[in-house]
């Protein structure tokens, strides 16, 4: 199975054949596809050392000169280590830049909490004008990469999983991708909407399979800004469950609540999230997800308790 990072970088490799304005910066983080980029396009690859802060400043300088800049590192470090550089550089100067952040959530289990990115979503969404993407399958990654390379607009924070994900959890078109979400299962205003993004969405899809009449799933792969179309679509759904592999403060459920409240819509939102603690326990990602009730069985229980 392919990794999300390889799929994204392969699209960059394809684009580099004709577009030499693309620059790829890494803080010593690799990928199979990146090996090819370094070999085939050495002029467009910039190793920044393990210096996330300077990497963003350098990226800002390149972006000021109209380069299409991709900045790449492990999620916990590229987000929180350099957040002020992201604020003062691309955000404040309104420069196009794409941050590729790999290993979100508990992706780096059992490395421990230094390597977990369980606060990155909240932190980055607080930066003005960021667009945040958390693709749940490879098809979405492909669309996303194509779209970003083509438009080269704004500050994109792309949250990729460390582990392989499915090629396609539900077919949709590049045109539909522009909405920033897709509905899986049959929509009904009387059903519970389970909203999620990223790899954890798989757990929600398992719940959906067994409870088609009770719920549908929203893959909210663009969580900032949340599509107005989605809010309007769900305006009569009274019950929502949001599942996010993040701690509670500022996570996806906050985004969903804020977006609804902007339209003076106040559905009941149940949030399923990681605990407000740094997890030192071993056992692997799936074990930890189960322990903290982010597995399909526990999400299903939340759903059933809603009725």
């Amino acid at each position: 199975m392919k990794l999300q990072r390889d799929i994204f970088i392969n699209e960059i490799n394809n684009a580099l054949k004709v577009d030499k304005k693309i620059y790829f910066l890494s803080a010593d983080f690799g990928a199979e596809a990146l090996d090819r980029l370094r070999k085939d396009f050495p002029k467009n690859f910039v190793h920044c050392g393990i210096s996330e802060q300077a990497m963003f400043d350098v990226a800002t300088g390149l972006a000021l000169e109209k380069k299409k800049v991709f900045v790449y590192a492990m999620a916990p470090f590229i987000s929180l280590r350099a957040i002020e550089q992201i604020k003062c550089g691309p955000s404040m100067m309104n420069l196009p830049m794409t941050v590729l952040s790999v290993g979100i959530g508990l992706g780096y289990a059992d490395a421990g909490p230094t390597h977990y990115a369980t606060e990155d979503f909240a932190c980055l969404r607080s930066i003005i004008d960021t667009k945040i993407f958390t693709p749940s399958d490879n098809l979405t990654v492909k669309f996303l990469a194509k779209d970003i390379i083509k438009k080269n607009k704004g500050l994109n924070y792309v949250r990729l999983d460390r582990h392989p994900v499915k090629d396609n959890v539900c077919n949709f078109s590049y045109k539909d991708f522009q909405d920033g979400f897709r509905i899986i299962g049959s929509f009904d205003k009387n059903k519970v909407a389970i909203i999620s993004h990223g790899r954890i969405l798989e757990q929600c899809l398992n719940v959906l399979k067994k409870n088609m009449k009770k719920c549908f799933v929203v893959d909210l792969f663009r969580s900032k800004p949340i599509s107005e179309k989605l809010i309007k679509k769900l305006q009569n759904n009274k019950k929502i469950i949001v599942v996010d592999e993040q701690c509670l403060a500022g996570n996806l459920s906050s985004s969903v609540f804020e977006s609804f409240s902007n339209f003076k819509i106040f559905p009941k939102i149940k949030s399923i999230y990681l605990p407000e603690e740094y997890v030192f326990e071993n056992g692997g990602r799936d074990y930890l997800l189960k322990k903290y009730k982010l597995d399909s069985r526990n999400i299903e229980l939340s759903l059933l308790n809603y009725f």
Binding site: K43, A54, T60, G61, C88, G89
Partner: protein, 268 residues
């Protein structure tokens, strides 16, 4: 080419203009602004930063990484015709609009990067310099950093970067006035020996008096084998005895009429 005496006089003129502007605006960072006047005058009027008269744009870039001192650039930009005079004249006057701020940002004509938070400018300068180098464009990037910015780890990260990529179009100037907000750098948290540390990173360090036009010109002109850093010894608040080397004059303080006249007399 302007004579040194002219550059000395114009430095004095800028001190006058800036002092009157500080009085109007009632805020800012005079200590840091007045410590880099000669450095800027030398770069702009010594033609180190090249100017396209027809297009009214500077060919080379300058980043005041110590963003609180960007104000020092405004009258220069105004005199070159890059910054509209009304922006300067309106600044600090009630009910009149101006783009100018105490910290520089890219919405202000002639300002190449938004700065204010310390330790960013050198990295941004590296990015610009790398871009020109890769595209084989003959442009230099001057970055003025404060000595205080050497406390920021990102500055040293950027120095590593500049050296590794041999960014010889990146011209670094360190404004070394030995003061930070709470006192002397040697007493707050020792930075010295700065020169040895920079040399250890592989740079050739040219020390000079940061208020001597002659010495600054010589330092900027000096050809070196390694990448060069100009370590300019300066006096915080230079030109005004009430401010010189006084930490509290990092920020603007209110002055009584007698003090104002004293300051004016000193820069006549």
């Amino acid at each position: 080419m302007y004579k040194d005496k002219y550059l000395v006089n114009i430095s004095k003129q800028y001190r006058k203009e800036l002092f009157e502007k500080f009085l109007q605006v009632g805020q800012g960072h005079p200590g840091s602004v007045f410590s880099i006047i000669e450095i800027l005058v030398c770069l702009f009027y010594g033609k180190f930063i090249r100017f396209d008269k027809k297009k009214k744009i500077f060919h080379d870039k300058i980043i005041i990484s110590k963003g609180h001192a960007t104000v020092a650039l405004y009258p220069i930009l105004k005199n070159f015709g890059v910054l509209p005079i009304r922006e300067w004249n309106n600044w600090g006057k009630k009910n009149l609009k101006s783009e100018l701020r105490v910290f520089g940002n890219i919405s202000i004509p002639g300002i190449d990067a938004t700065t204010g938070s310390l330790g960013h400018g050198l990295g941004v300068g590296c990015g610009l310099a790398l871009s020109y180098k890769k595209d084989k464009i003959d442009k230099n990037v001057y970055v003025i950093i404060s000595e205080g910015e050497l406390y920021e780890g990102s500055t040293w990260e950027a120095l590593l970067f500049a050296k590794h990529y041999n960014l010889n179009n990146l011209k670094i100037v360190i404004d070394q006035n030995s003061l930070i907000i709470l006192g002397k750098t040697d007493e707050c948290l020792k930075l010295n020996p700065i020169k040895d540390k920079l040399k250890g990173f592989g740079f050739e360090v040219i020390e000079c008096n940061g208020h001597s036009i002659q010495q600054l010109k010589k330092a900027f002109r000096k050809k070196t084998n390694n990448l060069k850093i100009v370590l300019a010894d300066t006096i915080k608040g230079k030109g005004f005895s009430i401010m010189e080397n006084i930490p509290k004059w990092h920020y603007w303080n209110s002055l009584n009429q007698q003090e104002i006249e004293k300051c004016r007399a000193e820069i006549k």
